[in-house]
């Protein structure tokens, strides 16, 4: 499969290549170097041209020949080379020739027939050379116009203090062409400088002279291809060597000098020459007639300096003319890797921030952990101090967590396993049901459930614990966590018990005090039946003394004695009930009976105070649930109050109406209405306050106590002014359905 695909691809590729071959004529360009390959100038030009050509068309084929004219300037060599080239390219001549180096063009013109009819594009030809050669029309190219004045101008700008000028040129062909150009240029610039022309000197002498040059002078290096002693040189190398030993800055018109020690000059780059020549070659290859293409001057000339050299001679960058290209300026890390540095700095910054944040977070976490620990300790301590145990129970794992104090509360040893059973085992058997029910209930609701249970400690003592539990709903709504507190409420419970005891005491005392007030009347109530008993007994005795005693009458008398005795007994019983001290006992109470019984107790008192009493009792069952003694106490109090209120009422008007009604609201109402002075407005609302009294010898506990009792019966005690004077005391108690054991 893979093999097949490769084969198919290869075939496709072959077609593509074949198509390319047919589409464009294969162009061959021959590059003729004036010197050998070691000359940087020509090499750079050739390379730039080659790149441009290849860039234009990949099918360009490039050949190169090195004429080596600098070393061998004799005729025989030239002819030999020309012949060699003719023979080499005769069969397959190139489409175009590019000459590199000024000496190559005269060679090509001289040996025209070497490559007959082939267009020639030259490069690096001075205007003077071009004018002198007068090339045939098929030869055109790039003329290099050296502007030596500008190179000098550069030197002047960088060294405004310089007074001495040294100009160097060798004794080669090109060197000699430069000599008059330089003289002329300097002459034109006027006599600003004291100029020394170091022309035609043997190289060693040149070196000696140059080393003596003052360091504030300007040295302009033209070309040194050869010296009078016949030595040949590569000018770029000369530039390097001379720059190295020159005390003063060295300038030159060639780009190849820049980078080899010279400061720089007004130069064209060899690359730009190569590119310009290649452009022309492409036009000609494209079909343009070279005869119609006039030679062009390379426009890409500018100031180029070597920053390192400037540094060496202490030249200021700010003195450079505008648009100067500064080479080899050792870029700072910032310049070179600005992006990377920025990224690195950014990353570093980011890392620092993250690191910082992490550190801060770590610190915070540690702080929070410490706080949490402290808080935990504080909470545990506070809970223990408040006699509270904290606990949590997991329903799934059946695991129980309890604070140490929680254990203590339950009297569990430290090594006892924490399970629900262990805790429930400590609960008093009577309260076990309460505890389990409370826990079950907690799981069903999120509300906090509290229940009070007794714990039996190992010592046998009992402790009251309030268990408060709350479930925590999970995300699915099914609660499995149960948490809460254990509070030791033993003290509270005993205080409650004590309070209840005190309440019972007070209630009892109040009853006793009321009965004390009534003692005369009550004595009368007992006295009446006693009187009847005595009289009946005596009557019976008298009857018995008679000759024929009336036995029927005697029996009646005895029966009456029994009856009256019962009546006295009832009074005593009622009294005993009221005088009894005891816990509240809830039972079914007939309110009407309660009223009647109370009124009976007050019978004599009412008569004594000339007060008439009327009853208007409901015909229904009028049942409620409560403690009959306490309820009677309340009624007694209300009626006594009513009687007291009528002390200054005219005798004829003194009356009390007691009515009972079973209200539709499920309450049984008892109303005690008097014809007294009513409730003064300023006292309204204060009457139920403990120790508030309007009576000369009152304790101020009566109504407060009544109110407490009625509230304990889920009832309500009210006191208002009646519509036609007097006060109406109202007593509302929850009605009980007669179906439930109406006793």
């Amino acid at each position: 499969m893979t093999t097949t695909r490769i084969v198919v691809w290869s075939i496709g590729l072959l077609f593509l290549l074949a198509g390319e071959g047919r589409a464009g004529e294969r162009a061959r360009v021959l590059m003729l170097h004036a010197f050998n390959y070691s000359f940087p100038a020509t090499s750079v030009i050739a390379e730039a041209a080659r790149k441009r050509l290849i860039e234009h068309s990949k099918s360009v084929e490039i050949d190169a020949e090195f004429l080596d004219l600098a070393r061998n300037s004799d005729e025989a060599h030239s002819l030999q080379v020309a012949t060699y080239i003719r023979d080499k390219y005769e069969k397959d001549p190139p489409n175009l020739v590019i000459t590199l180096g000024s000496n190559a063009l005269p060679f090509v013109i001289k040996y025209r027939n070497m490559l007959p009819g082939i267009p020639v594009v030259f490069a690096s030809i001075s205007p003077q050379t071009y004018a002198a050669l007068q090339p045939p029309p098929e030869m055109t190219g790039i003329i290099t116009a050296f502007d030596l004045a500008k190179t000098l101008a550069l030197a002047e700008r960088l060294q405004p203090q310089a007074r001495r000028l040294f100009v160097i040129a060798g004794s080669g062909e090109t060197d000699r062409r430069w000599q008059p150009i330089a003289r002329k240029m300097i002459a034109e610039r006027g006599s600003k400088f004291e100029t020394t022309f170091l022309f035609e000197l043997p190289y060693s002498e040149l070196v000696t002279e140059l080393s003596k040059v003052p360091n504030d002078a300007i040295v302009i290096l033209l070309t040194v291809f050869a010296d009078p002693e016949g030595k040949t040189f590569v000018p770029a190398q000369v530039a390097a060597d001379l720059s190295a030993l020159s005390p003063a800055p060295v300038y030159g018109p060639y780009d190849s000098f820049v980078g080899r020690g010279a400061v720089g000059g007004f130069v064209e780059t060899f690359e730009s020459i190569g590119v310009a020549a290649a452009e022309m070659a492409i036009e000609i290859l494209g079909g343009a007639d070279p005869a119609t293409l006039a030679p062009r001057t390379n426009p890409a000339q500018h100031y180029r300096v070597d920053y390192r050299a400037m540094q060496r001679w202490n030249l200021k960058e700010k003195d450079l003319p505008p648009n100067t290209v500064v080479l080899f300026k050792k870029p700072t890390i910032w310049d070179e890797y600005r992006g990377s540095v920025l990224s690195a700095l950014f990353v570093l910054g980011l890392q620092t921030i993250i690191l910082g944040a992490l550190l801060v977070q770590r610190r915070r976490r540690q702080r929070v952990e410490e706080l949490l620990k402290e808080s935990d300790e504080r909470m545990t301590f506070a809970a223990a101090a408040a006699n509270i145990g904290l606990w949590q129970f997991d329903r799934d794992t059946d695991e129980l967590w309890v604070t140490d104090h929680g254990r203590v509360l339950f009297g569990l040893p430290n090594d006892a396993p924490l399970t629900r059973e262990a805790f429930l085992a400590a609960v008093h058997p009577d309260d076990l049901e309460t505890a389990s029910r409370s826990l079950r209930k907690s799981f069903r609701t999120e509300r906090s459930i509290a229940s009070d249970v007794r714990i039996v400690l190992p010592s046998g003592k009992t402790r009251w614990i309030r268990m408060r539990a709350r479930s925590y709903a999970e995300s699915n709504g099914e609660p499995k966590q149960l948490g809460g507190i254990f509070v030791d409420i033993t003290d509270q419970k005993s205080a409650e018990a004590e309070t209840a005891l005190q309440r019972v005491e007070i209630e009892h005392l109040m009853r006793v005090s009321v009965l004390g007030e009534l003692s005369g009347s009550i004595a009368h109530e007992v006295n009446q039946p006693l009187t009847a008993i005595l009289s009946n007994a005596q009557a019976a005795l008298h009857l018995l003394k008679q000759n024929s005693p009336d036995l029927v009458e005697i029996r009646d008398a005895l029966e009456d004695i029994v009856h009256e005795d019962n009546r006295a007994g009832e009074v005593i019983h009622r009294l005993r009930g009221l005088l009894k001290k005891g816990e509240r006992k809830m039972e079914s109470v007939n309110v009407n009976d309660l009223v009647r019984s109370t009124v009976r107790l007050l019978h004599s008192e009412l008569i004594g105070r000339d007060i008439s009493l009327r009853l208007d009792l409901d015909h229904g069952s009028s049942l409620t649930r409560g403690d009959s003694v306490q309820l009677q106490q309340v009624l007694l109090n209300l009626v006594m109050n009513a009687m007291d209120a009528m002390a200054s009422t005219p005798i004829a008007q003194r009356s009390i109406l007691i009515s009972t009604r079973e209200a539709k609201t499920g309450m049984v109402d008892v109303l005690v209405k008097d014809r007294g002075h009513g409730i003064p407005p300023k006292e309204n609302g204060r009457l139920f306050e403990p120790f508030y009294t309007t009576k000369a010898h009152g304790l101020g506990l009566g109504l407060a106590l009544c109110s407490t009792i009625i509230e304990a019966h889920q009832g309500k005690l009210t006191l208002v002014n009646g519509e036609d004077g007097g006060a109406v005391a109202g007593l509302s108690l929850p009605a009980q359905q007669p179906a439930v054991s109406a006793v």
Binding site: P529, T531, L534, S535, N536, Q538, A539
Partner: protein, 205 residues
């Protein structure tokens, strides 16, 4: 003791009322029991010999108020015995000052009760006797002629026959005739008896 002595018994307590009734009847009294003072006052008959046995503390009208109504308002001479559950001194003083025979405290011993009742009976008998003597005398006085009555008045006033004759514009002899006839009609022999009789008839003078 006699079958003709009636006790008006008033007590609001039915048990007490019944037992007292029984006791008194066993002792031979005629008993008229009332549980309310009003009923007693309505049925009370001054002519019937007897006494009232009243309970002090009763609704509407108490024993002392009944006494007040009976003696002061009606001018009755009915002897009254009080019984009370709570024998307080101010009440008993008030009752005794108003002419009560006794003030008994419940429960009442039968001897105390009977003793009080017999005193009441004695008083009632005495009062009735006095009242019947007066009645006889008054009838005799009523049988006198106007002239004899005039002479009686003057004799009682201690005047001599001559003074009376002068006063009446007649002679001493005529007065003597009137005087002897008046004495004869009244069944009185001496002037002293006459004066005593006059005092009995008209105690206010």
């Amino acid at each position: 003791m006699t079958g003709m002595f009636t006790v008006y018994l008033v007590d609001d307590d039915p048990g007490v009322l019944k037992s007292f009734s029984r006791l008194l009847r066993a002792k031979g009294y005629d008993v008229k029991p009332y549980s309310s003072p009003q009923a007693f006052l309505e049925e009370h008959d001054e002519a019937i010999p007897g006494c009232a046995l009243l309970d002090v503390s009763m609704p509407d009208l108490d024993g002392l108020e009944i006494q007040d109504v009976l003696i002061t308002a009606s001018g009755s001479h009915r002897p009254i015995v009080f019984v009370t559950g709570k024998g307080d001194i101010p009440t008993s003083v008030r009752a005794m000052k108003a002419g009560a025979i006794d003030f008994l405290t419940k429960p009442v011993k039968d001897q105390d009760l009977f003793e009080a009742l017999s005193r009441a009976e004695a008083m009632d008998t005495e009062l009735r006797r006095l009242r019947s003597e007066q009645d006889v005398m008054q009838a005799k006085v009523r049988s006198l002629t106007p002239r004899e009555r005039e002479v009686l008045t003057h004799v009682v006033a201690g005047r001599l026959n001559k003074q009376i004759a002068g006063e009446l514009g007649t002679v001493e002899k005529t007065i003597k005739v009137h005087r002897s006839r008046m004495m004869e009609k009244l069944g009185i022999r001496t002037v002293a008896d006459l004066v005593r009789m006059a005092e009995k008839l008209n105690p206010s003078k």
